[in-house]
Subunit: 200 residues, 3 copies
């Protein structure tokens, strides 16, 4: 069964995810002492990588991450903001974690929502695509910056994303994924991830 898509919620979630992952990618670039351009590239790769991967996997060509000017603007803006206003480097690592959690939440929901409303994509695949959307940008960011990807180092990184994706896909099975369900799923991912960060 294919749901009617929910374009405005999809866009809002994509925008939130793109912007915060651009901040997180930019901060990693600042920490590694890249110049403005390196920071922008890392911001865009982190921000857009997960969504591009998602769209390649479900055959949405060309991927929105390279075709929707709003997402491109959000990614560039996030990188620029980071470069201009980043706080002291000492506080960056902690802040990257929080931004990562927000991005993880937005992208887990956005990725599974887009996948589950694509013809030919099964519920299990939609969950996996949701997780890959959520973790993909961070993996690309970490590979480019030469550090071991976060997803390999922390138990509770992909698990909250998977929970959120399962919630979205389960709602979709019953035919209704309203805005409340989507934002609740995102809040769940964020909360579980932040508890994990706190306990770490």
């Amino acid at each position: 069964m294919v749901l009617p898509t929910n374009p405005s919620a999809q866009l809002a979630l994509d925008l939130v995810g793109v912007f915060v992952f651009a901040l997180s990618g930019g901060l990693v670039g600042v920490k590694k002492r890249f110049d403005l351009f390196g920071v922008l590239v890392l911001a865009c790769a982190a921000a857009l990588g997960g969504g591009v991967l998602r769209d390649l996997l479900i055959g949405a060509i060309p991927p929105v991450g390279i075709s929707d000017w709003r997402l491109l603007t959000a990614a560039g803006l996030g990188g620029l903001v980071t470069f201009l206003f980043h706080p002291g480097v000492a506080r960056i690592t902690r802040f990257v974690r929080v931004l990562d959690a927000v991005g993880l939440a937005a992208f887990a929901v956005a990725g599974s929502l887009k996948a589950v409303t694509t013809p030919g994509v099964t519920p299990v695949t939609a969950v996996i695509v949701g997780v890959l959307t959520a973790v993909g940008g961070g993996v690309i960011r970490d590979l480019l910056a030469g550090q071991v990807p976060e997803v390999l180092r922390r138990e509770l990184y992909a698990v909250p994303a998977m929970l959120g994706a399962i919630v979205v896909v389960t709602f979709a099975q019953f035919g209704t994924v309203g805005d409340l369900a989507l934002w609740s799923a995102a809040a769940l991912v964020f909360a579980v991830r932040m508890v994990a960060v706190h306990l770490d």
Copy 2:
């Protein structure tokens, strides 16, 4: 000319390749002292990466690596088995090589078989797709784990895969790729690779 596909052999080869590459990916994770989740992620990336790359290159969307529950189960199981029962770390490196050779063999054959039976894919492309299927998972595993990919360090890593893919594609040109031909091609890849490991 497009062959009738051979779904059961395709699935069997994919399953063997996925399971052993999951073990090899998991063992690299154990060696790097990742926790359970990191081991599972590395196992799944190594196990499913090559097949996902293959399916992206030949337009088989969504890739079976994220849609066939049997492959997903084999990948997860391989990672779990590794984490629970891995032998002493001292012996791991050697064992990874043997598993790698089995996976290389299964995926070179599975990759070229699937490609050569896809409309619009030429024999040369099918050979290349076979090689990329075989080496792709290992490359992704090594990049994620922060080590130089095996395929760059060893002369006779991609060459056996290419031999096997050429055998499969040559048989396909004559219209018959029976189970015997497939498993013989896989045995050839494994044998050549193990001789190379032994001589190394």
Copy 3:
């Protein structure tokens, strides 16, 4: 509006880009003391990676980088030439920069040209695809070789590629992208990049 494609210019640009990126990839392999096979793999990855990424993003399946024998031959030849005739390692770093600039120019133009003549691809997307085609092979080369990608370390690496892509896409908006326009755009990219290398 979709232009008539310009297959001979497209092929010539692709061939130039593939050959020089094969040399640059091979030289990085020589510098890292890989053996013949490692050098060939790195050469092919650097040479064909950007074009394969482009074709995945615009849905040109299977990618020409794994299906056109002329590109495959150029990539292999570039790797072989590098391995056999590479100059003293001391001079390699400088030479890689020049080759990189030629490849950047050819691929920025080839990538944006192919994208802008693909139905459903907007001008902005065509520019981004041009840049990704130009920088993609180098990023893959650097990740495989275990070094931080050039595109993150140098301000004026992606910018010249973007200029060239914008020129091509702008001409395409007016319906005419003749050979003169294409080679002028490539010369512009090369010149800006070489000035940047010189000032560095």
